[in-house]
Every structure is written in C-alpha cells, then in structure tokens.
Symmetry: C2
Subunit: 263 residues, 2 copies
C-alpha cells in the first residue's frame, strides 16, 4: 500500500481526474502549459500532492519523434523479419533501430527489448491515431522518457511554483496475461519503485512483498481515464495519494535480462 | 480508456475509497457484510456504479484456506526443489500441490503456474501477516477466485439490492519489470478483459490496442490504497467508473502457455 491522506471528498479517498481539452499536440508544443491550461479551476486548483500522469503519445509528438516511413530503407535483416511477422519492412527496420534485442518474432508479433530496456511490442512505435498522414508516419517513444519526465516536471514547476511528480505512461502487453495495461516509462519527482526490503509486518515477519511498482500502479490507475488513441484524453491528475519519499526514475522498474526470474 | 461519468466531485473524476475498519477475518465470516458495514455513510451511500475491490487474503481467510505446514509431509520432489530454492520443504510441497507446472526454480525463487492458470511466485501462498500462528500456517488462494467473486457479488446483492461488480486481487511480480503490482484473480459483474477488436480510431485505422485488461487496471488502481499485509486495508471501492458492458471472469485474463507471445 501507499499511505493516503485525508481529502475533502472523504477520508483517504484518492481521485483520478482526466484532463480533457488538451487538444492536438504538435512538435515543439509546451505540453506542460497545455496541461495546466486544461485543468478545471486553473492553477489555483492544483494541490501540493497532485501527480501528473501523461501518456507517451503527446510527449513523443511534442518532441517531434515522428518518422516518415517513406524515407526508411529496410535492411536485409528487417526484410527477413518483416516476412516472418507480416509487417511493413520499413516499420520493422525502425523497430530494430529502436531495439537492443529481438525477444520474439512470430506472425503479427514483434516483441523487442527497446534500447531503454523496455520489453514491448514493436519497440513502442505507434501507427494508430497519430494524425492525418498516418499511413506513412510512425511515432517513436521519447529518446529518454525519464529525461522527458524531468523536463516536464521542471516545465510544470515554472508554471505552478513547485516541481510535481510526473509519470509518463505507455500500454504494454504481458506474458501470461491477456490485454494491455499502462505502465510507467518515465518518472520524476517520486520513487518509481518503492523498496521496502527489511520492513516487517504486524507480526514482525519480514514483508514478503518488498518492492512495489509505485509508478506502474499510478500509470494503471490513470489508465482508467486516459486513452490509448481514439479517445483523446492524454493526461490525468491523481489527487490525494501520499507518496513514499524519494525521487527515482522509471528506469528502476526495468529488470535486466540477466535478472529475469521468470524464464 | 474506459469511459467515465460525471461525479459530484468533478466531471469524470474517479474516486478510490479505502475501506478501513473491516477487522480481522476468520473462517466462515461473511466478508460481504463486514465490507458493507465498513462503508462510511452506510448502505445508502453506495451508488449503482460502485466497484468492490477485495484483496485475496481476506477472501482466503473467510474460506478457511489455511494449511498447517506441520501436517505436510514433503515429497522427494518437494525436498529437491526446497534445497534449490532455499525454502521450507513443507511450503514447497504445498506450492507444488497448488500448481500445474514449475516455471522457474532458483535460489529464493519458485515461480509456478497455479492450477487456476496464474503464473506467480509460490502459487500465491502467503506466509506474511496471516495471524498469530504464522510460523506454521500458510494461506492458500481461494479454490476458484472467480467463483468467490460471484459469491461475493451475490452476498453483496443481498445486502445492497443489486449485484455490484467485484474484483478479487493479489500482487504479482512480473518478468522484465521490478516490483509487484496487484492484478485481478477473480471477477464478477464486469468484463475482466475488454475486447475491442475491430473498433477503429479517429482516423479510421483499426485500433492497435484491442484488448484492455480492465480488471487488472481496477486492481492496480485499488492497490494505491489497499495493503499487501501490514497495513490492514483489505478492500476498496471505486466510484465513478463507467464500465464497458459484459460479465466475464478473471480467467479471461489468463494467457495459456501455448499462446505466450513473449518467449
């Protein structure tokens, strides 16, 4: 659990507020400003414990992470993989360029380890609902999502007066479980991973659950209101959550291949 | 995204309310009644869209899923695994009895496929904070968590007048990512997996994200306030979330081994 604090709406209640009306994001846009402007009640309604959750797509758009697939010349390796996975060889080429390893390639499935460490489909490259020319455009993840989170935290601080916790999310599939869930790919101003090793439970027994993926819980909670494309709600604010102390990036959530306990 | 509805506390805001004061659960207890009694404002404050999220431990306790390890005689196989994973051979024996396959055994790590299909550590058997005699007692998962969810839904209906959505959660580790997150192991009254295959995005492109793990998002969101042991907050109510139609169990979330795309 993450301790919570009293709120006007009831003791210990947490609120998840979708931010509607942010609008289409273009390269170079100041999304911190767009987000603050979308908050009902304005800056004065922002509270000290508010957590800003922002979906990857608008971060990537503001950072101009577009690739025009028409300009991509696929390698022989990409062409081979494309035949296997039945995807556009230019997209596959871009996936390989974004990745450090291919984890699984099968018809309609290309799961890689992104160079940032995330194991995910298509290296997080998005061709759904990216704009009018989407047939040939693809949107990459931010170059360094933790850096993006720190930058957004600083940009928000300039507007609201303090650096708020920021989580950047993307939706991942999972081994062994159907369906996607949002997870944190970038974080600033909070401990993305809450390490409780050594703490004890009520009976004095060392806690069996010692590391909580705080930023992933926040990402999933915000995912109840944010959209993966068509719906156009690209950010949310979580109110009332008392975070554990610390400021650690989403990179802490990545389990390196040599530590993978599940295979 | 899952569509949301307007709430008094603000447009489209979702609330997560921890249920404190449920108290210690014993075998045979009517936890539906204990949960309803713990709701601030009483039954009249329960709204038609409220979702009841209940952690596995109190469900297992009410179903008397205790095992006294002193009564367990480990098999030769359990003794061999116990030496490898450095755990109590009696616990390992019970893990094996609860499991259909061992996924990974290594020092301090025993990940199995639970007979219900969940891939998880120690078959979900809990030795942390299970009560006073915890040295020799272990708490198993409910026999059939989806059935438990249906029973809780019916028991709640008897108290509040309609069958509310119910999600039973437990915390799972993940391949490739550090830290645990709560997921749904049982569900009733909602579509645990929201299948949107065939829907299109704003640009008419078929959605890339087609299956959302709704019950897992709900489990993670509730995990912001519920506890994995010491904290003693075993349930939460989520208010304001408009669920997609349907009533499908948490079993829908399980990806069978033969479909595993990640390995």
């Amino acid at each position: 659990m993450i301790e919570t604090i009293d709120r006007q709406s009831g003791p210990n209640t947490i609120e998840i507020r979708p931010l509607t009306g942010i609008g289409e994001v273009h390269a170079g846009d100041n999304i911190a400003s767009m987000i603050v402007n979308a908050i009902q009640g304005g800056v004065s309604s922002i509270e000290a414990d508010d957590i800003f959750v922002i979906t990857q797509k608008i971060v990537s758009k503001s950072e101009d992470r577009w690739v025009d697939l028409a300009t991509i010349k696929p390698s022989a390796q990409a062409i081979d993989y494309a035949a296997l996975v039945k995807k556009d060889p230019r997209l596959v080429e871009q996936v390989l360029r974004e990745s450090s390893a291919v984890v699984r390639a099968a018809p309609h499935v290309l799961i890689t380890r992104h160079r940032c460490g995330f194991v995910m489909a298509n290296a997080g490259i998005d061709q759904s609902n990216v704009g009018d020319d989407s047939d040939n455009r693809a949107l990459l993840l931010p170059v360094d999502p933790d850096r993006s989170a720190r930058q957004l935290c600083a940009a928000l601080a300039a507007l609201i007066g303090w650096p708020p916790p920021v989580v950047i999310t993307d939706s991942f599939g999972r081994p062994w479980r159907h369906g996607v869930v949002p997870v944190a790919i970038g974080a600033a101003g909070l401990p993305a991973l809450y390490d409780r090793r050594g703490e004890k439970d009520r009976d004095g027994r060392v806690l069996a659950v010692t590391q909580t993926a705080v930023a992933d819980l926040i990402a999933a909670a915000a995912g109840l209101v944010t959209g993966e494309g068509a719906e156009g709600i690209p950010a949310a604010i979580i109110k009332g959550l008392k975070l554990p102390p610390g400021d650690r990036p989403a990179a802490d959530l990545i389990r390196p291949p040599e530590e993978d306990l599940f295979r």
